[in-house]
Amino acid sequence: MKSYESLIIIKPNLSDSEVTTLIETIQGWITANEGEIVLSKPWGIKELSYPISKFTQGHYYQVQFNATRKTLVEMRNRIRVTESILRDLNVTMESIQSKNPVQEEVASIAE
């Protein structure tokens, strides 16, 4: 088991309910294989720094979870075949979170 974070960009032309459904589906991929969700945070629609597949905006969805390597690979395979997902970035928590007890609050850029 390892801690991971995924940041996913969903196509902007999806309705709010469609986005919610997709987020639930993504969560299902993680929990189906004994994964455990630590944080689930939709950022809402955000302007992209450059167009991806001709889209200039996207719904950002941030999720942190504990899972095995296999679960992560499986999740990425599913993401790849999901047409509504424009891009995904998966990193280990240890590469972004300080091990020090004094944890700085990351200034939220979701707003």
Binding site: L7, I9, L48, S49, Y50, I52, G58, Q62, R87, L89, V91, E94, S95, I96, Q97, S98, K99, N100, V106, A107, I109
Partner: protein
């Protein structure tokens, strides 16, 4: 004989300390844009170490964070 006074201009070396070392940063979060905005030029390039005074260790971490942010479209690859 008149002695020519030679004026040698020496570039004064500024002692610079790595901004991240000062803050005792050990990991850089790619989402924390405010922390590394000033190390990206107007054109979206990563500021070289010789200009920013960042240490080698933190420049590597910085480059990684910027590249991650670029990939997920939080930062542009280039601005023209």
């Amino acid at each position: 004989m008149e002695k020519k006074k030679q004026v040698i201009k020496r570039r004064t070396k500024k002692r610079r300390v790595c901004a991240f070392c000062v803050d005792k940063v050990d990991v850089l979060d790619y989402k924390d844009l405010s922390k590394f905005r000033r190390f990206v030029t107007d054109r979206g390039k990563i500021v070289p170490r010789r200009n920013s005074g960042i240490c080698a260790k933190h420049q590597r971490a910085l480059a990684e964070a910027i590249k991650r942010a670029r990939f997920i479209a939080l930062l542009p690859f280039c601005v023209d």
